[in-house]
């Protein structure tokens, strides 16, 4: 996988472009990004079991969100698979994507299906 400080920069810029609601989330995100870039882009980020292992690129052609069955976006900076529609992110732990909804993290502050949005 391509990984390094050089690659994180354009990703950050891209993240900033779609204006999301709420500043709190953005601050939170930034913190996480910094954490992961500190530990991830070190000299030993190749195969060491200590650093976070990135996603295997070949998996992306199979993986979808188990809830909506829609494609996911791989966010390299946080090492997560993101479902933009539902606003949830699946973590990748030791290189293994954790694709159970119970393990997913909310990315939106607003829940996608709370009362008003019922069809």
């Amino acid at each position: 996988m391509l990984r390094g400080p050089g690659l994180l920069l354009p990703l950050r810029l891209r993240r900033a472009a779609p204006a999301g609601p709420g500043h709190r989330r953005d601050c939170h995100r930034q913190q996480e990004q910094e954490q992961s870039s500190d530990s991830g882009s070190g000299p030993d980020s190749g195969s060491g079991s200590a650093g976070p292992q990135p996603l295997e690129p070949s998996l992306l052609r199979f993986l979808v969100c188990p809830l909506s069955k829609r494609p996911l976006r791989y966010e390299e900076s946080t090492n997560e698979l993101i479902n933009e529609e539902l606003g949830i992110a699946y973590p990748i732990i030791d290189g293994i994507p954790n694709m159970v909804p119970e393990a997913a993290r909310r990315t939106h502050t607003k829940a996608p299906a709370e009362g008003s949005e019922q069809p």
Partner: protein
């Protein structure tokens, strides 16, 4: 979380095909009570308990399998992969395959088929020009030893996956092998993606078998094959008695001695007795939409391999 659950229900409702609806309704009518071995528990409790069982046994899983079956489980798994007969390029999803037993066999099998193919090709070209030799080396760079085959191992249990991944590193498997934590009832894979779906000694532990079968159907390509290796029921009464004796008197003891875990192995043998027999499982697979559903008993039905096609 409540919102997530809502979504899940919605997705499940979309997923349940009319063919499988009566069975699903029957399951719901019986209430949320399920079997955990011979105990009756709720669906949620069952999931948790089974997670704990495999969390406990993950590290000793291989040793226990060897000692309980006298190594025969290896033969059963070999037979499964031979039955699959994958060619280079096959995409396999192995569900509940945490420790990699099926995945490693699949890789070995595809590699040997590929090697034979290459040898046959070489035999046809005994007198190669330098240009041809150069080209064949160039091609080798692009064609890996698996011919672009890939196996995705999906298991709900983190400990089992951890053990499998370590084993893969230790045995030197990396190419064409990936690991995903996911639920068989709610697979995180796109529709029509895989050539083969295998589940070996896993479906028994799935809480909603009907959902798992529907998901298997969904992720398989048209023409794809479903293969299930699972403990089943021995029909011969004498053998059945002997088998029961061994299961209930010996296996939990082995579990205690080797893994220090009586209860997990007690669950194992009980769950085997609770699992639907050959014909019933066959009907369930057909209900999920599979065609040409068939099964083969191994060792008098101690285990059975069920097979079906998505056409």
């Amino acid at each position: 979380m409540a919102a997530l659950r809502l979504w899940r229900c919605g997705c499940r409702a979309l997923l349940s095909r009319p063919a499988a609806a009566p069975r699903a309704r029957r399951g719901l009518a019986a209430g949320p009570e399920m079997h955990f071995g011979f105990q009756t528990v709720t669906e949620e409790e069952r999931r948790e308990k089974i997670y704990q069982v495999f969390e406990n046994v993950a590290k000793k899983y291989d040793v226990m399998n060897d000692s309980m079956t006298l190594g025969i489980h290896r033969v059963w798994k070999d037979i499964l992969v031979h039955k699959m007969n994958p060619c280079p390029g096959t995409l396999l999803l192995d569900v509940a395959g945490g420790t990699g037993d099926i995945a490693f066999r699949f890789i070995n099998y595809v590699r040997s088929v590929r090697q034979r193919q290459l040898q046959r090709k070489l035999k046809h070209h005994q007198n190669l020009s330098w240009q041809e030799i150069f080209e064949s080396y160039q091609n080798d760079k692009f064609n890996n030893s698996l011919g672009d085959s890939q196996v995705v191992v999906c298991d709900i249990n983190r400990e089992m996956l951890k053990v499998g991944k370590q084993k893969a590193q230790h045995l030197g498997y990396s190419e064409g092998l990936s690991w995903v934590l996911g639920n068989a009832e709610e697979l995180p894979f796109d529709d029509d993606k895989f050539d083969v779906y295998t589940i070996a000694f896993g479906i028994r532990n799935v809480t909603r078998i009907d959902l798992a079968l529907q998901e298997a159907y969904r992720v398989l390509k048209p023409g794809g094959r479903f293969l299930c290796l699972e403990f089943s029921h021995v029909s011969n009464p004498l053998l059945s008695r002997l088998y029961d004796l061994y299961s209930f008197q010996v296996i939990p003891v082995l579990g205690e001695v080797i893994a220090g875990d009586w209860r997990s192995y007690q669950y194992l043998v009980e769950s085997i007795r609770q699992f639907p027999p050959q014909e019933e499982l066959k009907a369930m697979i057909e209900d999920a939409g599979f065609f040409k559903v068939d099964y083969e008993n191994l060792n008098f039905g101690i285990v059975a391999i069920h097979s079906g096609f998505k056409l």
